[in-house]
Symmetry: C2
Subunit: 487 residues, 2 copies
């Protein structure tokens, strides 16, 4: 198992890794001031190949933040510690203009009482965790009859008022998929299920966790309530718990199944968060920068190794590696967005603050740490040479070219708002929803060989982009905020 080998490596090689990083940083500094600024494909490819075998930087970041900080719920002191940790790390590795760009958000916290128990006919405790934006139950809990909906569509079909005084149980199936596409199929149970149930009179909602594993992990995540509908208590139960409940319905026949539920999440009002930024300053800082995004926050229950410590680790390592062949032409900026999980607050704040500063191209890493398998851009038709050059550079790492038009991830609002160039480096998401928003999102789940493949691919792409002198025209007209400048 990769888990086993990487976990062992963790404790044993921390000091070795630190030494290697020091060496890498030493390499970087002379390179940044080197006179030979011609980024040859050969040297970049060599750096990327080296990263594939040896990169110590990404592992150091994700090991560090999961060990020294852990979970980083948006708007809390833990997220603030995460920002402080990341800024120190960036500065130590030679990033410039490292800053915490503050913003505010309306903040929800989960509390610490999450109890569910079938009281009749088959008394048994269930493992649950609240969904983001869940209301609290009364202290001491509530008890009511469960109504079982195999899918959200079944819930939608329930008559108005038919759930008065009852608790909705929404189940469904989520399947692993390399591209994670089944999230779109199963996700609505979490995203809108509680709101629909509340609008039909339900006093609470429990769902089968939106996840693909069979561990007792209730995958959390945000839910939302329509305008005019007061939030109700809403919790996810683990997949094994939900399957057990399905079997109870099968065995209970006409006997009602009653659930006692106690949750104490709460809103704590407007709190501070921030976006951490840092730069490898380019030779021509006037050119639009290459923006590499990820997010620094995680759900309270998850140490955030896959989601998204790995993403920040990959983009930071790629920025440093790309600079090893010489100071890049363009500035490479990393954006570790805050408060992504609870509503893309950081991504929106960053776009609002920087909308008038065009970026050359945006990329994001936020889908775990498994291998990249597909390259996509939104300039295949308009900058065919560059697309082709990038595709060729990553092919050696097992990455396929694609005609799919890149749209960017959650933290690339600014790229979409600017109609800028976007690249998506699609990772293998087969395992992603085993871990997503759960306590199991721990360092041991990261396979360092696959993490390094990510760094190698990103190094190749970022190295080329940061030394591209031409503007990257996209296929989309740019009415107001020009992403592309004639340089």
């Amino acid at each position: 198992m990769p888990a086993d080998s990487s976990a062992r490596m963790t404790t044993k090689t921390t000091r070795l890794a630190a030494a290697a990083i020091a060496a890498a940083t030493l390499c970087l500094s002379p390179a940044l001031s080197a006179q030979d600024n011609s980024a040859t494909a050969d040297s970049l490819a060599g750096v990327a190949e080296d990263a594939l075998e040896n990169d110590p930087i990404a592992w150091d970041f994700v090991e560090g933040i999961t060990t020294e900080v852990g979970p980083r719920q948006a708007g809390t002191e833990a997220e603030a510690r995460g920002r402080a940790w990341a800024m120190e790390w960036l500065r130590e590795r030679g990033f410039e203009n490292v800053a915490d760009e503050p913003f505010e958000l309306d903040t929800w916290v989960p509390g610490d009482v999450w109890k569910a128990r079938v009281t009749t006919p088959f008394a048994q405790e269930l493992i649950v965790q609240p969904l983001g934006n869940s209301a609290a139950t009364p202290v001491g809990g509530m008890e009511a009859e469960l109504v079982y909906f195999p899918t959200v569509d079944d819930l939608r079909a329930a008559p108005e008022g038919s759930l008065e005084g009852k608790i909705a149980f929404i189940s469904h199936e989520m399947r692993p998929a390399q591209d994670g596409s089944h999230y779109g199929f199963a996700g609505p149970a979490r995203w809108v299920g509680a709101g629909i149930a509340a609008s039909k009179g339900a006093i609470a909602t429990v769902i089968k966790a939106v996840g693909t594993d069979h561990h007792r992990n209730p995958h959390t995540g945000g839910t939302s309530f329509p305008e005019g509908i007061d939030p109700i208590p809403a919790a996810a139960m683990s997949v094994p718990d939900a399957e057990n409940l399905e079997r109870m319905f099968e065995r209970a026949g006409d006997k009602p199944i009653r659930l006692s539920l106690e949750l104490n999440p709460r809103r704590i009002g407007i709190q501070k968060s921030g976006n951490v930024v840092g730069e490898i300053v380019g030779r021509n800082p006037g050119l639009p920068p290459v923006l590499l995004a990820c997010h620094i926050d995680s759900w309270w229950n998850a140490p955030g190794a896959f989601d998204d410590g790995a993403g920040c680790a990959i983009v930071a390592a790629a920025a440093l590696n790309a600079a090893r062949i010489g100071q890049p032409l363009r500035t490479i900026r990393v954006l570790f967005a805050g408060a992504e999980e609870t509503g893309l607050w950081g991504s929106k704040a960053y776009s609002a603050a920087h909308i008038d500063e065009p970026i050359a191209v945006g990329l994001e890493s936020d889908f775990g740490a498994d291998r990249i398998w597909r390259f996509e851009s939104n300039f295949r038709g308009t900058n065919a040479d560059l697309h082709s050059k990038l595709a060729k550079a990553v092919a050696r790492f097992g990455v396929a070219d694609s005609t799919i038009v890149a749209t960017g991830g959650a933290d690339l609002n600014i790229a979409r708002d600017q109609d800028a160039a976007i690249i998506d480096l699609q990772q293998d998401g087969t395992r992603y929803f085993d871990l997503h928003h759960t306590p199991d999102d721990t360092l041991d789940k990261i396979d360092i060989a696959q993490l390094r493949q990510n760094v190698a691919v990103w190094t190749s792409v970022v190295g080329i982009l940061a030394n591209e002198s031409r503007a990257i025209r996209t296929g989309t007209p740019i009415p107001s905020a020009p992403a592309v400048m004639d340089e």
Copy 2:
């Protein structure tokens, strides 16, 4: 994944399974009164082959008890519900002389507050659960410096009094093994670690869970304290949490790591438990019976699918299947022992109550639901023909013969106390310690194909034993309580 397929089967085929069980039960009743009592190898083999492909009985038991009862902590009302459920199930399937043989035990319960948090230098919560016999912390918890011992031997080497006012952290590595043998290597951290730490002045102990998985499951289990040493709070943390703590020690250098810990387990005095027994009565009830053992209790945190719902399911199915070829010569008795996990209370009580009633042979199933791979007896030298006949009967199911002398499991105290014949049908334990004593011990972990292989093997063995007219002499002298009678 087996987990996936079996989980799907669960809800979809409950009714089908019920119908098949009804059919199987119908088959049984005529068979029990059939005139053709010559158990031919052919017909027994046919029943076993059928079980391999189709057995619905074992799945019905383990699905039923995990769904309708769930965790069954020794000495609690949940265990009592488990006994009641099992007795009803046995009676419905045609077992006779079904009874709950009561006994009492000094009872420990886990409470419901299990909190651990590193407070400095890397503030982060850890997931812990108390070990059986753990003391409680003060309400509100305790906080102290952690002292890290990579192994129990390191703890043993610590000077007397060196842990005054501190919390011991005992780590170690446990590896998966087909025969589970690494439990002997890693187990002492749990079995005796807290007692050793307490004797050196520690105010609490936390251990890396004795388990082979990398999920956030703190494997619980019993610990013990030497005479004269007062119990201290003792908890297991999940393997990922313990590895994180190891990394903290690596990164903290000389800075002390402090842990805040709150646990509220307690002793609730003498409580009732019981052993559930049931019989397929033989044609000659005067002959010593074949005893098939398992245990009905589980730790409070575990629904007890692998440990040991599956074991009771396998032995019950085998007893019913063996009777399908005609009423057996000897009585087949099942023993679903109570309170195994907290100290083999049921096994001891059964032996004390029945020591003067010789058994012909004892077998136990208590190592999950994965394939049986080896056959062992303790009469290979003294009843070579029978050993050979049994070994030949199970070879078709991929089970190897062995020269290892069977010693029986935890619930076979009576067999050892009587120096009786014992057979061990060794299961593949590679996955066993992923699930052992954790919330993840759920039905979905059972691969029905492997469960049925167990039933097929057991059916073969029990069918032969129950129709064996000769006494099964063992290699051990029998000084007082004769297991073997001249019949």
